[in-house]
């Protein structure tokens, strides 16, 4: 898996934010590759540059220097409309505060992401319902965000992120606003999306509960990558580990 060609690659990213006296060097030379089929966690203390890196990887911010390559193409020098085009073709986003449209119901919230891509009409509606069922919200299709729990809202957001089948899913603190149970559910969902749908998923977090779901953990501090751990081959994520334990017990 590690030698697969990356779908998203950042090289020597430097990012300065703010102006004048308030100028901050949020990233100080970061390189990172994302490959399909993996859930990568980006962990680090608050203010370490996680969100900034995610924004740059997601083609929302442009780096001060360094290069981002998406699907084999450099994004350097592209204008806002071209970057938007790359985002809608390749990337799904999940946000800490869900960022759902309060005036649209669950299906419509997913449909709008497809609409932006030019997918309209019945097929889009059917696809929206399909992904909502996939994330376990088949019984909440017509609910508005105000009538959904936080966990349900985040699952709508996950459905919205994957509806157009992007090769990359980027999530900024997806579990931070959720209780433990819902946090685990969303992480399990992200792990499944990476595995079963062979996508690259990168989740920013400082929530240790999420560790068990990761194929790979990248640590960032003060704008620099300070470490990277990879789950040894053969070791499974927690729910699978639980299952294996149960099976062993049963066999014993």
């Amino acid at each position: 898996m590690t030698n697969e060609t990356p779908v998203l690659e950042a090289r020597d990213i430097v990012k300065e934010l703010g102006k004048g006296a308030g100028k901050v060097m949020a990233l100080k030379g970061v390189s990172l590759k994302l490959v399909p089929g993996e859930l990568t966690l980006l962990m680090g203390p608050s203010g370490s540059g996680k969100t900034t890196l995610l924004s740059i990887l997601g083609c929302i911010l442009s780096p001060t220097s360094g290069e981002v390559r998406l699907a084999g193409h450099s994004t350097t020098g592209l204008g806002p409309e071209q970057l938007a085009e790359l985002r809608r073709q390749h990337i799904g986003f999940i946000f800490q505060s869900y960022n759902l449209f309060p005036t649209l119901n669950a299906v419509e919230n997913v449909r709008i992401a497809l609409d932006v891509l030019g997918q309209k009409g019945y097929p889009a509606a059917a696809r929206a319902e399909e992904v909502l069922r996939e994330v376990g919200l088949g019984h909440r299709l017509q609910n508005f965000p105000s009538n959904l729990s936080g966990g349900e809202q985040q699952r709508v957001a996950v459905a919205r992120a994957i509806a157009a089948s992007p090769s990359i899913v980027l999530a900024d603190e997806p579990t931070a606003a959720l209780d433990s149970e819902n946090g685990h559910a969303v992480m399990a969902l992200l792990a499944r999306i990476a595995k079963e749908q062979n996508r690259s998923v990168l989740a920013v977090t400082h929530d240790p509960r999420t560790l068990g779901y990761a194929d790979r953990v990248v640590r960032i501090e003060d704008g620099k990558i300070v470490g990277e751990e990879r789950r040894p081959e053969g070791v499974n994520s927690p729910e699978i580990t639980d299952l294996t334990k149960k099976r062993r017990k049963a066999n014993a």
């Binding site: 995610l54 929302i60 806002p80 986003f93 960022n99 649209l104 992401a113």
Partner: protein, 379 residues
């Protein structure tokens, strides 16, 4: 989805929607009333000219309008006109303001129109009582029913005095109203001359000659020939004389300017209100627009959402505005100056509403153009 989102954003804040709609409605009603009055006035001013059966008008030089032509054209000039090649008929007509003395005392100003129906220049129309024949009696006149009160009379059979002559109402018309608010009094040519001609010197003079052409005669050729023969006159087409009357009453008097100014003011106020509400709605939904942008929507997609909001407001506001405008129109039907609505005006108002809303969207669009999608993470 663009329409869905626009619709939901619009109906999300009912109070703001109400303000938007009131703004558009106010605009539409104001503009409809002003332009309706303008159209109504124009029709009233040109009605008499439109009804005549003539190809050219001969007026004294510089005659300002139908009511202010002077009584100066001579029978000699009429014969010169008749002798011009291509001319079939030259019908004399008298038109002038005069003083009407009410039978019960007091007086008012009227516009006396003298013409002989049998000449075929101005056929009687909208007669509701009496016939044109009845008006040929020595002291007979026809007036519009709507002015009976102003004239201080009850109806057919009543008498009054114009200048020094006694007149008797023999026929009534309906809906022939005068923009000058001086009621028209119809009477045969010679009778009008007598009424208006106190010292006898204008016994055979006229205010206008209505010229009818031989079939196949060229209008411009005849006009040039007439103009060359008749010194001190203007030879005008029907359209030219109509425009001259309009210019006189609507623009030289300032009435038309006031009406058009009122309409422009309506447009301005409406635009400002809609721009304001659309801008604040966009500001309220700015996070959603930023999310859309982060999800990769193009700039134009977001602009379409805002324009759709503007367009929806326009359609709803226009519909409500038109209902009220038509109601006012209906209520004004018997007033001295009834409003007029035509399909063309209704369509123009709709186009105007759309235009107004599109202009209003500009500030909101400028606002979203500056959205930084990076703000989606900092909430």
């Amino acid at each position: 989805m663009i329409l869905t989102l626009a619709f939901r954003n619009l109906f999300h804040d009912r109070i703001r929607l109400a303000v938007t709609l009131v703004g558009i409605l106010f605009s539409i009603v104001l503009v409809a009333v002003q332009l309706g009055l303008y159209l109504g006035s124009s029709r009233m001013i040109t009605n008499m000219i439109e009804k005549t059966n003539s190809d050219l008008w001969i007026t004294t030089f510089g005659a300002k309008s139908f009511e202010e032509g002077g009584i100066l054209l001579t029978s000699g000039q009429r014969h010169q006109a008749l002798a011009t090649p291509g001319v079939k008929a030259v019908i004399p007509m008298v038109s002038a303001f005069a003083e009407w003395r009410k039978p019960g005392g007091g007086s008012t100003r009227v516009a006396v129109v003298g013409i002989d129906a049998e000449d075929g220049g101005l056929e009687p129309w909208n007669l509701i009582e009496g016939t044109w024949d009845d008006i040929r009696a020595p002291d007979a006149i026809a007036v519009d029913r709507s002015y009976l009160g102003d004239l201080g009379i009850q109806g057919v059979g009543d008498t009054a005095q114009i200048a020094l002559g006694r007149v008797r109402v023999r026929a009534l018309t309906e809906g022939i109203r005068s923009f000058t608010q001086s009621p028209y009094v119809f009477t045969p040519l010679q009778r009008a001359r007598n009424l208006l001609n106190m010292d006898g010197e204008k016994g055979d003079k006229s205010t206008f000659f209505l010229v009818q052409l031989e079939p196949g005669a060229n209008l411009e050729t005849v006009r040039t020939a007439l103009q060359a023969r008749l010194e001190g006159t203007d030879v005008l087409t029907k359209a030219e004389f109509r425009d001259r009357s309009l210019a006189q009453w609507l623009f030289k008097t300032g009435a038309g300017i006031a009406l058009i100014g009122g309409a422009l003011l309506g447009i301005l106020v409406g635009t400002v209100i809609v721009a304001q509400t659309l801008y604040s709605s966009t500001k309220d939904h700015i996070n959603e627009f930023a999310t859309l942008r982060a999800l990769g929507s193009s700039g134009s997609y977001i602009h379409k959402v805002i324009l759709a909001q503007a367009g929806l407001s326009a359609v709803i506001g226009y519909s409500l505005g038109m209902i009220i405008a038509l109601l006012i129109l209906y209520l004004s039907r018997n007033s001295p100056l009834p409003l007029v609505m035509t399909p063309g005006l209704a369509f123009s108002l709709f186009a105007l509403t759309l235009f107004m809303c599109a202009i209003s969207a500009v500030s909101a669009i400028m606002k979203v153009t500056k959205i930084d999608p990076a703000t989606v993470f900092s909430r």
